[in-house]
Symmetry: C2
Subunit: 360 residues, 2 copies
DNA sequence: TTGAAAGCGGTACCAG
DNA sequence: CTGGTACCGCTTTCAA
């Protein structure tokens, strides 16, 4: 054995390495097994037939040396990171968790790692995303997390990109859910409960989703002959606190509002607190609606009427599309279906669900 | 210029490459700028002085070719991934979000990418973690996400590891918060409200944190001469739904319970619903307490008495420790301080906070 | 079935 | 200040 590994002009690796603290390499394993590095590679990858005995020796050597092929080297030679990235504005809240979970699940199936970047409104977000693009085989970017001007060069550099929760731009595909149509339907439903003073709480500038929802709501209100000039109530965030604040302000203004449609469930929960804090009854005095149908929607008092969107699937589909794109297939955008979930907060007692918008 | 790049034996790269669809490499840039690849590297890294004019030419060439050095190659030659990993059982809920946010913040400061792995109780979690360990410069592992037997070989292979929300094992450092002491203190406080029938809702087998909390509670109860044999109420998850179910079962048994201490705030919120659903009053009939002091704790009805732990800092400290370890420094474990937050759910109206446990 | 050798795209050392 | 070149650890022809 000793002889084998030392025969001149034979399998001896050029670099002589002392088996010390260092991480072993293919050369060490090859030497120990008395074979060439090519054979070691073949055994590990199963890419070509290897004699059973040789195979055994290689495996034994690898095991004894506790060798694991360097991912760094392998990634380098294969020109593939074996990882995909996903960019969010934030990580908190049930919506993001669900989307990420869906994405992560599909990535794990493909044995791909997931790089997560939450921009948190950092000033250098664009830089971080550009940076991330260099580290992954493909990238999913949510909503308006980064500027289109940042995405364009990345996509142009042949990095597969899939947009999430927004419209496609150029030839960059997107996965999103229906917004305007179900928002319109929900608003119409609110009107059908006899309401005429409807407010929408949310910041359309914050996300394409919200922007579309507001558009749908406004459309329905206008169709109902309602003045929408005062209907939009700003809300700087998507969590309960921001909803609560917005709710307080809304009623502090002494507004006569008999329905508040919110950009998501958490804002709605906050508004609900504010409303009841003012001694108003829901839905009798004021209707409140949410969006997403997160678990909390069924638990508020009263339970929230909302629009269910498949958050988990949103992430999963984005991942699937991304991997198809990475594998060289051409992909096209997807709009997922949503459904109205009517509960007590709009005055409906029974739950009904109606599919709206979206072609899957 | 053309001549320059073609002079024999000169700076012409051995590999002749047609400037086509391919990603440009240093060789292309060097050729275009009429310099050697060494100079290109120097310009980019600023690792050695370069003449202003040369520098300009290199930059121009890089720009024209839209060249960005390959991260794959750089990582390979530098033997560094420029990324750290973090392993969680799950991603939902405010606790994980906050911890991740803290971790991610520090990672971004170091210009390191973050690889997230949520095991979701997958059967092959250990395999995924071992896999992840090959892709990062260091790893943070939360609680009992994976078996110690999985961690050991990773740490033994010289991959920096920091444990999170659990005790250190061997020479692997950990960042955690105080549990037993504040749990003991909180339980004692509950007893001071005259309660004698105290239950603890949570699964100690699920996380070291919960295990310690239960230990502290039990200690206090026993010290108070209370029988703890029936005090532990199982709860399979950390969310509101599981808390609700556990709460229902607890009272369905016709138990005479006058205080329910929960493993976290969300479970407590669920229990609160169940309790009030049974027509019991909180805190008059039953005291309910949580843990974490997540934003929701202040919003429940009545607001939750709980134990505040610095979730964001937990993630941040883990990151800082990990980077120190990656940089070769030796690190030691940290226990972060927690504090009691007493609100109405235990019968206290005013909020008081008392630091407990932990040495920072 | 196996070995030799050519890269992958950078970094950094050594001369000049 | 600049060029030549030896790696980094692995995968993959090409020959034998």
């Amino acid at each position: 054995m000793k002889l084998l590994t030392q025969r001149a002009g034979g399998t001896m690796p050029k670099r002589v390495r002392v088996e010390g603290r260092e991480r072993p390499s293919v050369y060490d394993v090859a030497a120990r097994a008395g074979v060439s590095i090519a054979t070691v590679s073949r055994v590990l990858r199963g890419t070509a037939p290897v004699a059973a005995e040789t195979r055994r020796r290689v495996l034994a050597a690898a095991d004894e040396l506790r060798w694991r092929p360097s991912r760094l080297a392998r990634a380098f030679v294969e020109q593939s990171h074996g990882a995909v990235g996903i960019v969010f504005p934030d990580l908190g809240g049930p919506y993001y968790s669900a989307v990420i979970a869906g994405f992560e699940e599909k990535a794990a199936e493909r044995r791909s790692a997931v790089l997560i970047l939450a921009t948190h409104g950092r000033a250098n977000a664009d830089e971080l995303v550009t940076d991330l693009a260099d580290r992954v085989d493909g990238l999913v970017v949510m909503g308006r997390t980064v500027a289109d001007d940042t995405i364009a060069p990345i996509a142009a550099a042949n990095v597969p990109v899939v947009l999430l929760a927004r419209a496609p731009v150029g030839d960059v595909a997107a996965v999103r859910t229906a917004n305007a149509a179900p928002a319109d339907a929900l608003a119409q439903h609110v009107l059908s409960h006899g309401r005429r003073h409807v407010a929408f709480v949310g910041d359309p500038a914050r996300s394409p989703d919200v922007s579309e929802r507001w558009r749908g709501v406004r459309r329905a209100l206008q169709r109902g002959g309602i003045d929408v000039s005062q209907a939009l109530v700003p809300c700087d965030g998507f969590d309960v606190e921001h909803g609560y604040k917005a709710g307080l302000e809304l009623f502090a203004l002494g507004n006569v509002v008999d329905a508040v449609m919110c950009a998501n469930d958490e804002i709605a929960a906050g508004v609900l607190r504010a409303v009841t804090g003012y001694g108003l009854r829901v839905p009798d005095d004021v209707i409140v609606t949410g969006w997403d149908d997160t678990p909390m929607a069924a638990r508020t008092h009263p339970p929230l009427s909302t629009v269910r969107q498949p958050m988990h699937e949103l992430g999963a589909r984005a991942a699937v599309l991304l991997f198809e794109r990475i594998e060289g297939h051409s992909i096209s955008s997807v709009v997922l279906r949503t459904s109205l979930v009517l509960r007590a907060s709009c005055g409906c007692t029974s739950q009904q669900a109606t599919a709206t918008g979206g072609r899957p």
